[in-house]
């Protein structure tokens, strides 16, 4: 837009405003919008910017003329102009590391920017200034889509409050951001964001922000904020007044508030002095009205913030700031990229090289019918595979085919376990056997059958890109529950007993009096595999130390207290049992898996749980049904039950998309007797890292559900192997719910089928196939 055109637009806008004003009609949204455009233009004029092509020019004369005018936006505009001036000398497009702000959003100091983190990035931010402290867990769920779960504490909340309701006010909030435009040579990155979308609304805000890199070290951000980000330096209410928030309930999206009410500009600049050192300055549009004006927790003396950040590593950053003219601020951020292993990838010993048939073990004649020879082959295979934690459950061989059933207990990658197995087979099995059938087992049940040809193994071990060629030549076939009659089995595989003792930590989060409570426990677990598919397992634990029981929270739920008495369970349990179950896993048909579990199923419930799952190994989807009859356990978690019982169950559908997105829908009856559905969406990486969110809506009215309105949360799974770089199947899982109440509550039974069975279907193995030859 050249200056003539711009001036014309301005004149037309001004004329329209005058005409509207003269008409004396009540302000319509259209009129407000026109006024809004006019104010934006005025704001632009105040700072002396006139647009020419894609870049702005600085006009000192215009700025001088405006000096006598008092404009609340001017300091921020000054920063912007300074940045623009600098940029003229260093015009370009460079990649400056996107950093996080005080709210854990990609941004400046307290304001968001148009940038996003690396796809899949997981970050944790801790920041504090004056009375305000924030802890944020963030996910870059897709290249443009980000989500943040934040816990905010504001100290001195009731210093001047006669009610003395809170010493420190704690609140949870959830944000969503979407990058509309990626930064290009001329275009800035543009992002729209929604803060505190389903929380109490105390921190709710919407923003539209743009960031542009100039040269190799300067990034300038400008934006418009609504709600909390629009309450300082307001330019008006272009889209109408903002409806009041019902802070007490929360839990549901407040669509009616979005982009309503006052809108205010914010701006800032980042100067990356070096990859490790960044200076920031910003003009904030957050008035902190409640904190500074109503609660008097701190003095917001200025909209200007300044800071310096130091990044000792690409994944770690700390910062120190001057906030709002009166406070010192500190922040620390950890950003993990799932695509970059913490330890630099899978380490540990290499595999057994594939052996040529001419060098394979010679078994003489008659081995096809000789059970002793087959048993020797099985023993030889087991000797090689023991080191990788692979148990050979059975072996069947004939002149041209070998079927091996294996259980992988150590390697974190299932394709790698298959690869190690075929290598061992080339070393041990007679040269005439060309067809290898690999049958991974779990809980004594065959999960899939993968057929590979020995000649392909020999040909592709060192072939460039041989992994892709091999999986294209492999076949995923149906498999029945029983091994062939002629199969041989290892001695002493069943019954099998295992046990371990380890410390464990139980946590209770988001208690208003103490947001993080924890108990340290000592737990002993034992498992007795009576026969293939029949498992007796149990655990007993003793609390060593902790403060969960100190919580004064008690349930006020209007529903049966199916989950909300969690504190009571923690209070009364000392030496507790659970789970303690007998489980039977089976495969009644080639694509059908079943489970029956009886006993003390989990902390709060005992009973019977039945499950059926249909899944084909070559398909990315599955269907399941689960029916449970459960009775609530006594608070002491020993052997007694309470009076409450329920029939609960779900029909479940699962689908894995090609891009690593996995969807699950469960429809059924929940523990409190409510009917509804749970939708779960998760992003998965081939290395086992998963992140996602879920929400449950049932026929319980929001008002009856209580605080939060409905059950929802986010979860994260980090395989320990990714962290330590060594093979282990341990996975750290965490689920964060804003609040755990009784509506939409499901049974937490162990050994659900889908998560086990899906590991060996084609779509999941495809994703991890890169490590077949590892």
């Amino acid at each position: 837009m050249n200056n003539k055109t711009a001036a014309k637009v301005y004149r037309m806008t001004k004329v329209a405003l005058i005409q509207l004003k003269a008409s004396g009609k009540p302000k319509s949204n259209l009129r407000k919008s026109v006024e809004f455009i006019g104010r934006i233009w005025n704001w632009r004029r105040v700072v002396g910017l006139s647009c020419s092509t894609a870049f702005c020019r600085f006009s000192p004369i215009t700025l001088y003329r405006q000096r006598s005018r008092k404009r609340t936006v001017r300091p921020g505009a000054m920063i912007l102009c300074s940045a623009m001036m600098y940029s003229l000398a260093a015009e370009g497009f460079a990649d400056i590391q996107p950093s996080l702000n005080f709210s854990g959003l990609t941004g400046l100091i307290d304001m968001p920017s148009g940038d996003v983190q690396t796809d899949g990035a997981i970050s944790v931010s801790k920041s504090m200034f004056g009375p305000v402290g924030r802890t944020t867990l963030s996910f870059q769920m897709a290249p443009r889509l980000s989500g943040n779960f934040r816990y905010t504490g504001i100290a001195d909340w009731d210093r001047y409050d006669t009610k003395k309701s809170f010493q420190t006010y704690y609140d949870r909030s959830f944000d969503i951001g979407y990058q509309l435009v990626k930064e290009g040579k001329f275009l800035p990155s543009v992002k729209v964001g929604f803060q505190d979308v389903i929380g109490t609304g105390m921190f709710s805000a919407e923003y539209l922000t743009a960031s542009k890199t100039f040269g190799s070290s300067i990034k300038v951000t400008t934006g418009l904020g609504w709600g909390r980000l629009g309450n300082f330096g307001s330019m008006g209410t272009p889209f109408g007044e903002r409806p009041a928030v019902d802070v007490g309930r929360g839990g549901t999206p407040r669509f009616g508030q979005w982009f309503r009410g006052d809108v205010a500009p914010f701006a800032g600049i980042e100067w990356q002095y070096s990859p490790k050192l960044t200076f920031k300055a910003e003009y904030s549009s957050d008035a902190y009205s409640v904190e500074s004006e109503e609660r008097l927790t701190f003095d917001r003396a200025s909209p200007l913030n300044f800071g310096v950040e130091y990044a000792p590593k690409t994944w770690a950053r700390i910062g120190i700031y001057s906030l709002y003219g009166s406070e010192l601020g500190l922040s620390a951020h950890i950003v993990l990229d799932p695509k970059k292993s913490v330890t630099g990838g899978s380490q540990g010993p290499g595999p057994l090289p594939v052996r040529a048939r001419t060098a394979a073990t010679v078994w003489g004649s008659g081995w096809v019918t000789d059970t002793g020879a087959k048993s020797e082959m099985l023993d030889d295979l087991q000797r090689i595979l023991t080191h990788d934690g692979i148990i050979v459950e059975s072996l069947d061989v004939d002149q041209g085919t070998a079927q091996i059933r294996i259980q992988s207990t150590k390697l974190d990658n299932n394709a790698q376990a298959l690869g190690r197995t075929v290598r061992a087979m080339t070393a041990v099995l007679p040269a005439s056997i060309e067809r290898f059938e690999l049958v991974p087992m779990s809980q004594g049940v065959p999960q899939a059958k993968i057929m590979v040809l020995r000649s392909d193994i020999e040909q592709l071990e060192f072939a460039p890109g041989g992994e892709d060629q091999l999986i294209n030549r492999s076949e995923f076939l149906d498999i029945s529950g029983q091994a062939p009659d002629s199969a041989v089995y290892p001695d002493g595989l069943y019954p099998r007993f295992s046990w371990n003792v380890s410390p464990s930590v139980a946590t209770s989060l988001f208690d208003p009096e103490n947001p993080l409570r924890a108990d340290l426990r000592l737990r002993a677990r034992a498992s007795y595999d009576i026969a293939p598919g029949l498992v007796l397992s149990g655990a007993i634990w003793k609390k060593l130390i902790g403060n969960i029981a100190d919580s004064k929270r008690s349930s006020n739920s209007l529903l049966p207290h199916v989950r909300s008495d969690a504190i009571e369970y923690a209070r009364q349990a000392d030496l507790a049992v659970g789970p303690l179950t007998l489980a039977w896993y089976a495969k009644p048909a080639p694509n059908l898996f079943s489970r029956v579990t009886v006993g003390y199923l989990e902390t709060m419930y005992g009973g019977v749980s039945n499950e059926l799952l249909w899944q084909r190994a070559d398909k990315p989807y599955a269907l399941g049904i689960e029916v449970n009859y459960v009775r609530q356990r006594d608070f002491d978690q020993v052997f007694d039950f309470r009076d409450y019982s329920a029939v609960t169950g779900h029909i479940s559908g699962y689908y894995r998309f090609d891009n690593g997105v996995h969807a699950e829908l469960d429809i059924g009856r929940y523990l409190a007797g409510d009917f509804g559905a749970t939708a779960t969406l998760q992003r998965e990486f081939s290395n086992g890292i998963k992140m996602g969110a879920f929400a449950t809506l049932t026929d319980v009215p929001f008002a009856d559900f209580g605080e939060g309105s409905f059950d929802k949360g986010v979860f994260l799974e980090l395989p320990l192997a990714w962290i330590v770089g060594r093979p282990t199947q341990k996975v750290n899982k965490m689920t964060l719910r804003p609040i755990l109440r009784d509506g939409g509550a499901r049974l937490n039974v162990e050994g659900r089928l889908y998560q086990t069975v899906r590991k060996y279907r084609q779509s999941d193995l495809d994703a991890a196939w890169g490590r077949f030859w590892r």
Partner: protein, 193 residues
């Protein structure tokens, strides 16, 4: 690296109601990964050579574990492996972010000084296979400081990851006396004596 691991562990313990102590799990994991299978250990009398991982500053001895289809597998005492086709590296195992396979030139191709391509297959942090194609040129000069008749070859390659440079000291009979070769993003360069 340790700081990073500890940070991740701190993150997990601080945010999760985790079932077991990650510290104890690490200890168990290290114990489990410390031994190698007898089947993956080379014979004591096997041929040996020295390898230096230049970027990591590590030098170690490897012994021949197997040979098949022109590729020799060399294994170190800790079980890590390097695959050589002739003298060209075509794979590694156990170093983290390994080179899984590679399409490489032969020594005669280098000595002819012809333009050629290299393709490397390695894994990103999610264990997804990725390939990198490089276009290469080889420059030859007589290596007078070494054995008479030997040739010093500098192979410069340009690809999506930038420029890499491999060097070879090739004897008159075509065998490689020494080399310095790029392996992968995770490993960097390795020198072979």
């Amino acid at each position: 690296m340790t700081l990073r691991i500890m940070s991740v562990i701190a993150l997990m313990t601080s945010l999760s109601g985790c079932a077991a102590s990650p510290l104890s799990q690490i200890a168990l994991s290290k114990m489990a990964g410390s031994a190698t299978s007898a089947a993956t250990q080379p014979d004591q009398t096997a041929d040996q050579k020295w390898i230096t991982l230049v970027n990591r500053g590590v030098k170690f001895q490897v012994a021949q574990l197997s040979e098949r289809d022109g590729v020799t597998v060399w294994a170190a005492r800790d079980g890590t492996q390097v695959f050589l086709r002739g003298s060209m590296v075509v794979g590694t195992r156990g170093f983290g972010r390994d080179l899984m396979s590679a399409d490489v030139p032969t020594t005669p191709t280098l000595l002819e000084g012809r333009a050629h391509q290299r393709t490397y297959f390695d894994m990103d942090g999610t264990d997804t296979m990725i390939s990198h194609v490089f276009t290469c040129t080889a420059t030859l000069k007589e290596a007078k400081d070494f054995v008479f008749g030997s040739t010093h070859v500098v192979e410069k390659c340009l690809g999506d990851l930038g420029t890499i440079e491999n060097t070879f000291l090739i004897l008159a009979d075509g065998s490689v006396l020494k080399s310095r070769q790029w392996i992968s993003q995770g490993i960097g360069y390795a020198a072979f004596d």
